[in-house]
């Protein structure tokens, strides 16, 4: 449970998942912001107005998933690093996960990485497909990782494997 240990429970996650139908249609945002805190940059970040306006800045973000095309601009604009994009249509076996990443060194394209879940546990391997780090992102890189589809909804962070003997 989030307030107990920082890991959202399945019940808590239910509220932030797009519908299975929407997930099948292509890239879409998952906003894991489950607490009412005073914050609204996501609303201003989205070029397609997929985030609904905040009548009260303390509200949790509400997303119009039909407007979201998974463009990922919001990822680096979230001060809580709580926004991810998933794409179940990436390939037959793999889905694509986009995460905010603020550690150095940055991973490189085609690099194999260890995939971690929300509790920091290893759940598999992934392959870095793209690393975006433009000036506009203000030092929050966006890393795209191809991961097996069955772990796409649990995968939320990566660990580099450089220098390890894991191969």
């Amino acid at each position: 449970m989030l307030k107990k240990d920082g890991v959202p429970s399945p019940e808590e996650l239910k509220g932030v998942k797009p519908s299975p139908e929407r997930l099948k249609e292509g890239p879409v945002v998952i906003v894991e912001c489950m607490q009412e805190i005073p914050c609204d940059p996501c609303y201003y970040a989205c070029p397609r107005s997929a985030f609904r306006p905040f009548p009260d800045i303390n509200q949790k973000p509400e997303i119009d998933y039909e407007k979201c095309n998974g463009c990922s601009i919001c990822i680096a604009n979230c001060p809580g690093l709580a926004i991810f994009v998933v794409d179940y249509t990436y390939s037959d076996e793999e889905g694509l996960l986009k995460i905010p990443y603020e550690l150095k060194p940055l991973p490189e394209k085609e690099e194999a990485v260890t995939v971690l879940n929300r509790a920091g546990e290893e759940i598999g391997r992934g392959r870095v497909v793209q690393v975006l780090n433009t000036k506009k992102q203000d030092r929050t890189a966006i890393v795209s990782i191809a991961v097996p589809k069955d772990i796409l909804m649990d995968a939320r962070h990566i660990r580099l494997r450089r220098g390890s003997n894991e191969g």
């Binding site: 307030k3 303390n58 001060p79 203000d138 939320r156 962070h157």
Partner: protein, 356 residues
């Protein structure tokens, strides 16, 4: 003796915002900052700020500090003294400060005390061993001076500071053994907890530190699970091997100057300790003495900036300059909306008792 319309003590977010507002309205401002640079705690905040996009949300604290410093240095109405420590404020309205080996005497028409806060300490065995730090001190070491405190850290306290500094330690390549928290819940924003959690750092609520171990320096810590009455559970003690213990157990307002100036004070657990009674424009019970930022009650930097703006513009009005009443209203509305949610509840409760 220097004369000025408005003396500001403290060049953190509150003091800087107040100096800007008052100077832009035409007041002559004299700003005292103890450090050798402006920005206060902002200079070590490498994370993006929360809050409203209208008030710097999304910007990193370090960049907000830079933005303010540039504006202040350009402003001809503001005279800045860095490396200047305010010493006292006396019955005849004279403020003194230690500056460059001598004592400055200033007679301001109005005064803002924006002196910020200091870190709290908790008692445990061997808490005086080298290697026991305040989390703010660790943040200063790392992000201002580029020095890491150790190799493996135990963080005590899961409020925003504990969570954010843990993240910054990980960014600096330092291992965080765990974040322990005495209460049953994460006190900081859950998004901060989640981002450190998915990097593999455990957050142990209902846990406390019993003692630091080691002879000359910290070599470990004995922690334990506790019940709701803070009593250790039998057999739950264990030692973790760390070389650094980082305490993020809260802040208390640096209110000495307010006491000395004779402001009426009130103890507020919700606001972090003794804070001054104030009116809706942040004027204390001593006429012409204003407050803003953490010294008025422990909060975060966005509200410190807004409070600074409110105090600065109120001072300008007080000394007879024309100000926009709409702007005052807008600042108050923004402050209110920042504090309107569940995470602002303790602030609302605290303010209800000290605002008159």
């Amino acid at each position: 003796m220097r004369q000025t319309d408005f003396a500001v003590i403290g060049g953190g977010p509150a003091g800087l915002a107040a100096a800007m507002e008052a100077a832009n309205a035409g007041a002559k401002v004299l700003l005292l900052e103890r450090d050798d640079w402006l920005g206060g705690q902002l200079v070590k905040q490498t994370h993006q700020f929360f809050g409203s996009k209208n008030e710097f949300a999304g910007m990193r604290g370090i960049d907000i500090a830079r933005h303010f410093t540039e504006q202040i240095e350009k402003n001809e109405n503001i005279e800045v003294f860095t490396g200047a420590t305010a010493l006292g404020y006396y019955e005849d309205g004279v403020l003194t400060a230690a500056y460059s080996g001598r004592v400055l005497k200033i007679k301001p028409r109005t005064l803002l005390i924006a002196s910020g806060a200091m870190e709290k300490m908790i008692p445990f065995l061997n808490n005086d061993l080298p290697g026991v730090y305040g989390a703010g001190a660790v943040q200063t070491l790392m992000n201002v001076y580029g020095v890491v405190p150790g190799k493996r850290v135990l963080m005590v306290g899961a409020g925003n500071i504990g969570l954010i500094v843990s993240y910054q330690l990980m960014q600096a390549g330092i291992e965080v053994e765990a974040i322990i928290e005495g209460t049953s819940q994460v006190g900081g924003y859950w998004v901060h907890a989640s981002k450190i959690r998915r990097m593999g750092v455990p957050i142990l609520t209902n846990h406390t530190i019993l003692q630091a171990t080691g002879q000359e320096k910290v070599e470990g810590a004995i922690i334990t699970e506790i019940d709701e009455n803070w009593k250790p559970l039998p057999g739950a003690e264990r030692e973790v091997k760390v070389d650094t213990i980082c305490l993020a157990v809260g802040l208390s307002p640096l209110a000495e100057l307010l006491w000395q100036a004779g402001c009426e004070m009130e103890f507020s657990p919700q606001l972090g300790g003794y804070v001054p009674i104030r009116d809706g424009n942040l004027e204390t019970t001593e006429e012409g003495i204003y407050i803003a930022g953490d010294v008025a009650g422990i909060e975060e930097a966005t509200s410190a900036i807004l409070e600074g703006q409110l105090a600065g513009i109120s001072v300008a009005r007080k000394i007879g300059l024309s100000v926009s009443e709409d702007k005052i209203k807008k600042i108050k509305e923004n402050l209110k909306s920042l504090r309107a949610g569940p995470v602002g509840e303790h602030i609302r409760q605290g303010l209800a008792r000290v605002e008159r």
